[in-house]
């Protein structure tokens, strides 16, 4: 039986981009795991609108492997959990709380990156290849904002960083390792129906990986098709806006009218559909297109 090395409960604070969170637990291996991927974000004091996550061991029961629970701001959200499920559920807890505690941001289900000061978002459902694309672009020098969300400030329409650890599903391990990024063995976590995943800190890929707030200049909807040649097809802004509102988590709960924010951001963006197959070729195609567009815009200006 695995010993979980319970100790005195300890609280650590983290500023993950614009999202402030704390983790309180007495489970030492969990604290060590969390700090190993978020140590770069650790702060000494609580941040504004901090989301307080706590993990504790439940009273003994017959379900001996499922002995943990995750609570957010004092309310139990997930139970009973195995140890190797804790990290994904801590992440989920934070994601679910972000729209509630930060209504100034529109939260889109999209990977968000920055290239030469331009924000690029890749909206898509789970399995569209967002996280794998993220790592592909990171290795090409792009800056990372988030692999799962685009946080758009409702007033400024700027894209803000929420540089979570990048979550790679088992099916993507080979593609990531082909990029020369180690998917650490023995650090795999069970994430519900998605199966086993691995978390990769963006700064483990590149020390200067994390980007800054920036305007959204490109909205690209990826669709993964194994073996397909990469293709970028322009789409109209209204089609893109309509698709974006499907992947918005807080369209009705955002401080502003969600559709106003979407329309506002889309007016300043070029919109495409992307078929992704080979990761390197896809990243190269997107980067060439953006750089070409930027050159043309600069010449026009």
């Amino acid at each position: 039986m695995m010993a979980y090395l319970l100790g005195k409960r300890e609280t650590r604070h983290f500023g993950i981009g614009v999202v402030n969170a704390s983790l309180t637990t007495g489970i030492r291996p969990l604290l060590e795991q969390y700090s190993s991927i978020y140590g770069r974000c650790e702060t000494q004091t609580a941040g504004k609108n901090e989301i307080a996550v706590s993990v504790r061991r439940r009273p003994p029961s017959l379900r001996r492997r499922r002995r943990f629970e995750v609570a957010v701001n004092g309310r139990v959200q997930f139970e009973p959990l195995r140890f190797d499920e804790l990290l994904p559920y801590i992440e989920w807890s934070l994601n679910w709380e972000v729209p509630r505690v930060m209504p100034q941001y529109l939260q889109l289900h999209a990977c968000s990156m920055e290239l030469d000061g331009a924000g690029v978002i890749f909206p898509g459902a789970s399995g569209a290849g967002k996280s794998t694309l993220t790592l592909g672009f990171l290795t090409r020098g792009w800056r990372y904002l988030c692999d799962e969300f685009a946080l758009v400030h409702a007033d400024t329409l700027q894209l803000h960083p929420y540089p979570r650890a990048i979550c790679i599903k088992r099916a993507g391990f080979a593609a990531v390792e082909a990029l020369g990024i180690a998917v650490s063995k023995g650090r795999h976590h069970l994430k519900g129906a998605k199966g086993y995943v691995s978390f990769i800190s963006p700064t483990d890929v590149r020390a200067d990986a994390v980007g800054r707030p920036c305007p959204i200049r490109y909205v690209i909807f990826p669709k993964f098709e194994a073996g397909a040649a990469p293709e970028l097809r322009p789409i109209t802004r209204s089609e893109a806006a309509f698709q974006l509102h499907y992947v918005c988590f807080n369209l009705l709960r955002c401080r502003a009218v969600g559709l106003d924010v979407i329309a506002g951001l889309i007016r300043g963006a070029a919109c495409y559909r992307l078929t992704t197959g080979d990761l390197r070729a896809t990243c190269a195609l997107v980067e060439q297109t953006i750089r070409r567009d930027n050159r043309e815009m600069a010449q026009t200006a």
Binding site: T236, S238, E239, A241, F242, Y246, L259
Partner: protein
């Protein structure tokens, strides 16, 4: 350049799960010939490159109109009936008046069924 008029674009409901049942549902389109309709004033509209997104806060639904549908939508101002709107379309698109009228009436019928427009004589007292 004159182009073929697009078939009437059905309004697309925001909720994907309900889209299929929406298609199956009889929208019981009212006869709109001869009547004049006006857009509800409380809708949020965004024009994007000649097309339009409409958000209806009462139903929390979002709709997307293509260019042709948007031009019909803009003509629902209480001053034009379906026939007048169709005549205007025949001047801008390569389409016969009869076909344009059918399309316009069907499209306005959908707008009425979705509650996005109301008969001009009923529009007084609605939220602006």
């Amino acid at each position: 350049m004159r182009t073929e008029i697009a078939p009437p674009t059905p309004l697309r409901r925001a909720d994907a799960d309900r889209r299929e049942s929406e298609e199956k549902r009889d929208l019981s389109m009212p006869s709109v010939a001869g009547a004049r309709y006006v857009r509800r004033g409380d809708l949020i509209e965004h024009e994007l490159d000649g097309e339009c997104l409409i958000y209806d806060a009462l139903t929390a639904n979002t709709h997307r109109l293509n260019e042709t549908a948007f031009s019909i939508w803009k003509a629902c101002d209480g001053a034009h009936d379906a026939r007048a709107i169709a005549e205007d379309l025949t001047e801008r698109y390569d389409v016969a008046l009869e076909a344009a009228s059918d399309n316009v009436e069907r499209f306005i019928g959908q707008l009425v069924a979705l509650g996005l427009v109301v008969a001009a004589h009923e529009s007084e007292g609605l939220p602006a």
